[in-house]
């Protein structure tokens, strides 16, 4: 028998508003109403400002290690904009903008990175999961959440975010395989920002696109300009339709760039070229929307100045709210351990004994919790 072709495939790439101000009127028509566009622009601006402030807070010792989101705002924002309020948003740590859009009070994010678990104590109505630090683990949780929603006969779907590096973890492959083979409505959103700390993308994936990994699992997939809010919204609409109407998963590769360091504990100048960073500064998701809105005549310099003032005041208020929350008490660490606290743990809580086995509890003084 002759050798035949078992599969030919292609990966679509979507770009609607590019960094030169070119707008694809056909794809972009009616995609985002002007009023919404202004609002999304304002949200990105606030997120960017908070990112700058968080960096300074860390440098001045008022916050722990913090991962900046700078340059990647459009990805999670575009997703949250398209999702329903009760769809699951299962993120890692570069999705602040989408979380704020969903309604997460920004001081929660600051509180978390200031080193306070209560930053992850989120109103369940927001359908947001705690920030995932172990890389990749959240993708399976998203798959489980969507599966459970399907099990309960709900129309909710899940959207999970992860980096290019995370696609090397087994959890990624297992989540993709499950979702595809068991018809689970999950949108897998990879923020390909080209770097995993100092490791370039080609060490994680030697194929020309990350998007094509989905094909191996039999999953629909698309690549989008992740710095283009229009492209993200376009791709998310496709994904959400497939997930909600047909119960199928979808993969989106958002091609973006981490303009800042990996975290405040990193110095990216050590391993990447300034020219590369500069190139991506030109592709900033915020700048292109601003220019486009000016072109449309719905934005101008005075509006921009007013926004900057407003963002300044709002972020200052957010920081103030985060810092005015009192340090947790050591009772707090026992309180959420079990549905009902078992007697041995209760003894530890009452004596602050923290398990000095053999000591007579009555002999142990109860120390005052020191301040933050």
């Amino acid at each position: 028998m002759p050798i035949t072709n078992a599969l030919t495939t292609e990966i679509h790439r979507v770009s609607i508003l590019d960094e030169h101000g070119q707008f694809d009127a056909k794809l972009g028509e009616d995609l985002i109403p002007n009023n919404d566009l202004i609002k999304l622009y304002e949200e990105m601006s606030l997120c960017r400002k908070l990112d700058e402030i968080a960096f300074k807070l860390q440098r001045s010792g008022r916050m722990g290690t913090y991962p900046q989101n700078m340059g990647q705002e459009a990805n999670s924002l575009g997703a949250a904009y398209v999702l329903n309020q009760d769809d699951w948003l299962v993120t890692c740590y570069r999705e602040n903008c989408g979380l704020f859009h969903r309604g997460l009070p920004p001081e929660k994010i600051l509180l978390h990175w200031m080193g306070d678990e209560r930053g992850n104590n989120i109103d369940p109505k927001l359908c947001i999961t705690p920030i995932a630090v172990p890389i990749g683990t959240q993708m399976l949780h998203a798959t489980g959440l969507a599966w459970a929603s399907k099990y309960r006969g709900e129309k909710r779907i899940a959207c999970t975010f992860f980096g290019d590096g995370a696609t090397s973890e087994g959890d990624f492959h297992e989540a993709m395989n499950f979702a595809a083979n068991l018809d689970i409505p999950v949108v897998f959103f990879c923020q390909n920002n080209h770097w995993a700390i100092s490791v370039p993308g080609r060490i994680q994936c030697s194929a020309p696109t990350v998007a094509q990994r989905a094909i191996a699992y039999g999953m629909d997939t698309i690549q989008c300009d992740g710095n283009d809010i229009f492209a993200v919204v376009y791709c998310m609409r496709k994904a959400v339709e497939l997930a909600r109407e047909h119960g199928r998963p979808f993969f989106i590769e958002g091609v973006t760039y981490r303009l800042g360091d990996h975290t405040t504990a990193d110095d990216a100048r050590r391993y990447r070229d300034e020219e590369e960073v500069e190139l991506w500064r030109q592709r900033d998701p915020i700048i292109r929307v601003r220019n486009y809105m000016k072109q449309l005549g719905i934005w101008d310099d005075s509006k921009e100045a007013a926004l900057m003032e407003q963002v300044e005041a709002e972020t200052a208020a957010i920081v103030k709210r985060a810092e005015s929350i009192e340090a947790p008490d050591s009772d707090d660490f026992f309180n959420a351990m079990y549905a009902e606290i078992p007697p041995d743990l209760d003894l530890q809580r009452r004596t602050r004994r923290t398990s000095s086995i053999g000591q007579d509890p009555s002999q142990i003084e109860r120390p005052q919790t020191s301040s933050r």
Partner: protein, 328 residues
């Protein structure tokens, strides 16, 4: 004692580099170990000296590179696997617990597994509960592996060199909090044998036994207690597997008291093992039962104030010692 003073992290690197120069079978792999010099700069300069064939940046795939290293060890190579943090070894549980420690056993002695797995272990860096694992309690339960946990720079070098030469899998636990600590470290070949505890401070009233970073908490507590006229003997166990119970027993027979300090959770831990063995060996010598100071029975807290309270700190150790000596 060596004249030269270097940091704990440099001592670790020196052990790896010296063994790599000596033995072409040794190589290092893990996330960020090459271009970035390691997340904690332990492998600084090693890429330059040994090249990318032997200093290997891996994809973010702990299960992947741990499993791969085991395969390489089965063919006689001597991999050093760096986990950025032992916390991330949890996604590689099967290769490191279900394969490495029993490869020799399951192959009837055919395939050894001379692998060293090293990385940052323990809380204290305010990294939150998923990033602050202290794995000695959980992993020391597994037969077939060795576990070393140095508390001083010279041991860091001598014990890591011994680990690399060892024919069995060695879990090597480093505290990020100690990496910048300076100390006298011998130049040239230097090996510290496994299973040999050391007395860090001689004393007469009570024996404090600990492993890794909490040895320093014990020394701090001993200093405080000395002001109250209490003399503590502090033992640094150095390796948890093998455990040098003889040195501990000898000391307890002298002091007639024992407090074990262990940064693991209390339930089924190195601390409970030491306490049980001391009770068995020294039942008639003890003036009180063995007391144990552990981390609180909760995930490591994120908040700085709570994290310090959570750890088996010097204040809690001193309290336990007073209790043990009936001077509360």
């Amino acid at each position: 004692m060596s004249e030269r003073i270097i940091e704990f992290r440099d001592a670790l690197r020196e052990a790896m580099s010296q063994e790599m120069r000596r033995d072409p079978r040794v190589f290092l792999l893990g996330e960020e170990v090459a271009e970035y010099d390691g997340a904690y700069k332990v492998s600084r300069g090693m890429l330059e000296e040994f090249g990318p064939r032997r200093i290997i940046d891996t994809p973010i795939s702990e299960s992947g590179f741990a499993g791969l290293a085991i395969g390489a060890a089965m063919l006689g190579l001597r991999p050093i696997v760096e986990f950025m943090s032992w916390s991330f070894s949890l996604v590689a549980a099967d290769p490191i617990l279900n394969n490495a420690p029993k490869m020799l056993y399951m192959s009837g002695g055919q395939f050894g597994c001379p692998i060293v797995i090293r990385g940052n272990d323990g809380a204290g860096g305010q990294l939150g509960s998923t990033h602050s694992w202290c794995v000695e309690g959980m992993f020391s339960n597994v037969p077939g592996l060795k576990m070393a946990i140095p508390a001083f720079p010279d041991d860091a070098k001598g014990m890591l060199a011994t680990a690399i030469r060892d024919d069995d899998p060695v879990f090597f636990l480093e505290s990020e909090r100690l990496l910048a600590m300076k100390g006298h470290v011998p130049e040239g070949d230097y090996y510290v044998p496994f299973g040999k505890a050391v007395v860090r401070r001689p004393g007469t009233d009570v024996t404090l036994v600990s492993f890794g970073r909490p040895v320093h908490f014990c020394l701090d507590a001993a200093e405080e207690l000395a002001k109250e006229g209490i003399s503590c003997e502090v033992i640094d166990g150095r390796t948890i597997r093998p455990l040098d119970i003889d040195t501990i027993v000898k000391s307890v027979k002298k002091t007639n008291g024992c407090v074990v300090v262990d940064q693991s959770w209390s339930f089924g831990s190195p601390g409970s093992e030491v306490a049980a063995q001391v009770h068995a060996h020294c039942f008639d010598d003890l003036d009180n039962h063995v007391m144990r100071v552990h981390s609180a029975d909760v995930p490591s807290p994120y908040a700085a104030n709570l994290e310090q309270e959570y750890l088996p700190n010097a204040r809690r150790i001193a309290e336990a010692v007073r209790s043990a000596l009936y001077v509360a």
